[in-house]
Amino acid sequence: METFTALIEEGVANSAEALAKMSRTEWGVVSSSTKEIPAVRLLSWFERSKMEHVAASFNSNSDFPMDIILMFSEKGAQAVTDAVTKPFSERLTRMNDLMRLTIGEVSNIVAHGIIGTLADKFDQTVILTVPEVKVGPKAEILAKSLERYDGRKDVILLSHVDMFSENLAAECSMVLVIDEESLVEMFSAKGV
């Protein structure tokens, strides 16, 4: 799991670069950590925050079974949306639901930054589903997103990234739900 966690951290760094490019903002990463965490503890931790978050969920194809949920605080989501959409016309900035749609697309790119690192390591092709965006408190979003979670075979990894720019701050939590058996098989096949 340590090797896998290191790959995730590498992917997080790639994703921060992608986010910087998309938002034309130099984001510094204050802290970033990835750790395995039981579902009950994660839900309990998320229960502490009642603030609204904007989250995008993805599933991967069957060769590399994984669920990914990215959560931005509402303030962070708005800051990222403003930065990403600023150079474009009113056709974009006047769209209904602009924040949800933008966070869906930003999360898509961020998630691919992480998945790409893993896929390349294992010579796999992973195609993610289109994002499903939800708004609500973190625990509520997570509970809905964990409907397919099976505690007997799945492990959960949490990455938490705090970022700042000159004028903005954003906090992003990423939850990965992975089928442990498939992961072990892939590591074995690769001789890792």
């Binding site: 990403v84 016309s89 898509n108 998630a111 691919h112 930054g113 390349d120 092709t125 993610l128 289109v130």
Partner: protein, 123 residues
């Protein structure tokens, strides 16, 4: 000379961004669709010079759409535009005779450079 372009992407945000960049570069957008089936229906109607095709789509994945477009029209010019930068995916796209793969996020300059490369391949 500008291309007549069909944009295929599930994200309305990305469709607008890409459309505005392409128009600034002097190209015409003949249609924007959000799905693989939408692309397969729009292609014979508009007969675009170029299709920009996302990989993650709500119905059929972009690689399958690419294969089907090429079966319908072996001369179809398809540029994959995706956040997915995996090496095996790029190899697969090129083996299916995509003109190239442009990775999100990109700016208008990078898009222009890629279209110049595509133009070289078209001649």
């Amino acid at each position: 000379m500008g291309y007549r372009i069909l944009i295929v992407d599930d994200s309305p945000v990305l469709r607008i961004m890409l459309s505005e960049m392409l128009q600034e570069l002097g190209h015409e957008i003949v249609a924007e669709v959000e799905s693989g089936n939408g692309a397969l229906e729009a292609y014979p109607v508009h007969k675009p010079d170029l299709v920009t095709l996302d990989v993650s789509l709500p119905d059929i994945d972009g690689m399958e759409v690419l294969a089907r477009l090429k079966r319908k029209d072996p001369q179809a010019n398809v540029l994959i535009v995706t956040g997915n930068d995996q090496k095996t995916l790029e190899a697969k796209a090129l083996s299916l005779r995509a003109l190239g793969v442009l990775h999100k996020p990109f700016d208008a300059e990078e898009l222009g450079v890629m279209l110049d490369r595509v133009a070289v391949k078209k001649t």
